[in-house]
Symmetry: D2
Subunit: 346 residues, 4 copies
């Protein structure tokens, strides 16, 4: 049986490299084209020396891609550049888009948060927002999957089942989230130099980070009414990992243990989502390099309040791993195929 | 004029080493005795090679200390061992205790959080809890200062002025705090190995960390009624620094900007506490190696809510720096003497 | 076809965890027993939470292992304890030993470097020293493979082909090697605390590290006469990776480019050893989490001298990966089976 | 007595910030002007928030500096831009230049290593190359001091006394050096991103790093004949610190202990250079944040060979600390004034 022919647009960034790493060992997919506008002409091993000696196509510009042989596109381009590019991809090719361009279903919300009108509304209308565990059936039928953001994956996985169950107060959600530096991408910025980031910690985007729009969308749908959560991202001096510490109020009659049981039941059959025993602390390092999610629930000292903890690898479940998980679903393959590496610790 | 003769009990730990570092350059204090029960007989340079070549007394056991020549004791012993030791220190010697043993004024609270009755109630009664900026006058007259915990310093400095001003809801305080590893001390534990801590992040003590008792005490006094805050500590993969992200609800009529103005006014004359411009993010790295505190206020997206950020160096303002600041006050010296190093960045 | 039943002795250390990680995804091997004397009774997920949710046997003592169902033993016990344990393993079971106990063929060398006579000389006589690329044929027939040390793998791979070719002066080899902290294992020691290791660098074992004996043995065999190299190990503030910078003198008539060509020819067919283009710097981060080796050759400024650079992941090619590579060879499986993960970067 | 008025050219880089940090606490110097061409108009606290609240002049362009009030210039500009700038500084102003522009006394060597003729030969002729401990008398009389490079300070301090004593073979010096990332400066480059540098290690500039020219110059002068050492720099995943592991051959009749004794005697009276007991390993972390140098000597296994270890903080003794040490000497102040902070560990 022929392998699925894959193009990765934006292969010289970290999410691109993660896709290449997994696809080189994927039994049913084959990398046919790799693009990187600024580094076009280079080999992938020049951009990422870990691929030295592997048989990979040379980096080209998007304009050079011959779409005829392609079955599947992973689009790992910067936000906003994606819309124009994807409009021109032939309609028979399936797409998983890792940018934020198609994540917001409401064009007005997109325009508010991104500062310009959406340039590909037709595509946006057919896009399926793909946290795989929540949208598996829609993803299976989708042509275009909008792959969720890293923070929003870590925030929505534990909260949405609780909102759907009506177990927590939608107006009292505080998400204090922390991410490794790889979430900032590979662009050369002073703020992301080793010397500026190591041995220190700080918040950023306080009160106005764009992932808020994704959280609002998901939480509001789950609660059946508008929800606005408090959300503060922070930068950790480490490469990979997102941790979300989430403070919630149980509704009357519900206890923190009830919240645990709701999550345990909701994710019981899921390979990638592990609900740890009540009161067990998850560490980002124990999901590093993997598509796994560890989450758990604690009772706060204050009666009626609970603390949810959730960890992912931002580049994998928060980006490329979930993208490949979604692609597997879109092509009817086993969902874990090529995505089931176990965490690398230490 | 004779220098003040200092003994440091527990000099082989990190807070002890920080005291030595600062005291070696202090114009009015002189290190007379250093104790370290397990390493007694060693030189300080064997315990901490950064002191190679400096003229320092050899490490001895506490029993070997000749109290006659000592004017001031810094006690950096593990929690619970301190009470017995300090009972026997001659009454004319002033003491700054860096342990938790004398921080809780209420013996019942001590017993609840530490699991055993307090063994030196007389001393506890005279102890002054010393966040210098809040307790300067009492510290000046104290014989025994209970030096505050690191998390509680970072949590109380921004919150107490707001509670005293009646500007925030005491029942809606969430403190999400993160600390560098040096806060865990120098004991050889698997959990604190480089391999276990680096490149990862996790919460700990969720729902039951002992610093909660200190926060309760300070917040309740400031609010004039019992306050129980949500507080979650986390471990950062870095040596130094605490960051507290604090979510509060403004009372009716108060805005986040009002909170900023209250803090700016409260700390206007303080050398070590800098209230950054409204909406400016403080970084732990910018107070590293210093006694300075940077804090700031942000508006949350949700009307009426604010986010406070506060950073300190946990070993300095969170321990040894504040201890020396307090000792300066106790002896009528300029408060900044020997404590005014500027942050080391990068 | 039945899977090969595997026991891992010493599963609660880092090399044990790496074996578990790879074996859980190995198509032809199955984990049947896991031992950890101090943590016996615990689950593997309690020792290493990255395995939460995986189906693994509980940790037991070595005495509890039922050898009847076991085909293959990986022994990841501390040096010196191994000899006594392996003497009692039934003779039909194949063994890959990751300790240093069977690496030195000469009992006198063992006694000199380890300070006591060898306790299992019969076993030592049959042990095959297994840098797979150099000893593949012997490994295929071995019952007991002594898996090489991490530093010695990084040192021997580039140097032995040059000594065998007579291309470098055996008396002028300087190996300056640097290792990540995971090489020190998981024992709780003050010297390996995060606070003691991060943000700093130092040499250790200068002039007397035990891996010297392994280097001597390999180099002397390759040169056909006694060789004693200068070798200095250093500790890097990172989890994984060994880099060896090796200074050599070319023999008359040979140039640095000749050295490159010898290595390129020697490793041409090897999956795991990549000789980079002449003058290309290898990084430890580009082999992190993988069994791959990157090496390269540079001309020194001084005519006739060359600099060899070689990087590996100390826990994989330097320990568990090479162990599994050897086990595959011992059982006639494809050498790369279950060991071919690609490096995780960033 | 009036304070010495200081201008720092290039204050927005790391060496500039280190100068500001030390000068703010210097009892006899006062910062009068700070330049930063790209960030002109900003406050220093905007460039480096650790200075928030300190009274400092605003950043200006070099053209805006009013030289009339300036007594001393620290020039921390990029290499090659310095020559043109310093030509126009009034002759009565003393200068410490931290760039490489005036370090090579031989114009031909400069042109060879930097690729263009020197543009300020008059200035170069009067420049004094200032490793303070070796050039104190000349520095005292100099108008322009060329502050040494970081690697070359760590390499020359232990080697030059041995060459001068004729105790080692000048043709057999191998310097394997490792530096923290701050040595690369604050320019936004992909290669220096946190994600590219952390958790990994690599060599660079192998066979052709510019600091070689400085080493050649110093070693040749000390040996009284041309010396070319092998030198390989590497990048450490840490902010600060250089470690040099130096392999040397003793001349006939000299032992490694003799080398130790030569160094101990040579640096006996020096505040900043500590020769550790024979066979004691120095760590970069134990000089972090300080102007101190720790060095030591070991016997290699090979008779007649020795290993020298030397550590410094690259930004302090390797740059700004030594610059201020030199400036103190130039103005007849105590050499340690404002430079004597003790290392910050952990």
């Amino acid at each position: 049986m022929d392998k699925i022919a894959v193009a990765i647009l934006g292969a010289s960034g970290y999410t691109g490299a993660e896709l290449v790493r997994m696809l080189l060992r994927h039994p049913r997919m084959h990398i046919k084209a790799l693009t990187a506008d600024r580094k076009a002409g280079s080999t992938m091993a020049e951009a990422f020396p870990q691929f030295y000696g592997f048989d990979l196509p040379r980096l080209v510009t998007i304009a050079e891609v011959d779409w005829r042989g392609i079955d599947l596109v992973f689009c790992a381009l910067p936000h906003a550049t994606t819309q124009a590019v994807l409009k021109d991809v032939p309609a028979r090719i399936k797409i998983v888009d890792l940018s934020a361009d198609f994540r917001l279903a409401d064009p007005a919300a997109y325009e508010k948060w991104y500062g310009h009108p959406h340039a590909a509304l037709d595509l946006q209308r057919e896009a399926v927002y793909g946290i795989t565990e929540f949208a598996r059936d829609k993803v299976a039928k989708a042509r275009l999957v909008a792959n969720p953001g890293c923070y929003t994956t870590a925030g929505q996985l534990p909260v949405i089942p609780l909102l759907e169950a009506g177990a927590i107060d939608p107006d009292r959600i505080v998400i204090d989230a922390k991410s490794g530096v790889s979430g900032a991408g590979r662009a050369a910025k002073e703020a992301n130099l080793f010397t500026e980031v190591s041995e220190g910690f700080h918040a950023y985007g306080v009160g106005h980070h764009r992932h808020m729009a994704e959280l609002d969308q998901g939480f509001s749908a789950a609660a059946g009414r508008p929800v606005v959560a408090s959300f503060t991202p922070h930068l950790l001096p480490q490469n990979r990992g997102i941790e979300a510490t989430i403070y919630v109020d149980c509704v009357a009659g519900k206890t923190p243990r009830d919240l645990h049981d709701i999550l345990a039941a909701r994710f019981a059959g899921e390979e990638f989502v592990k609900v740890l025993p009540f009161g067990t602390v998850p560490h980002t390092r124990h999901v590093r390099g993997s598509n796994y999610v560890h989450m758990s629930v604690f009772a706060d000292r204050q009666p009626g309040r609970a603390i949810l903890l959730c960890v992912i690898d931002n580049l994998i479940k928060g980006a490329s791993g979930q993208a490949l998980q979604n692609a597997n679903v879109m092509f009817g393959l086993p969902e874990t195929m090529g995505v089931d590496q176990i965490a690398l610790f230490p």
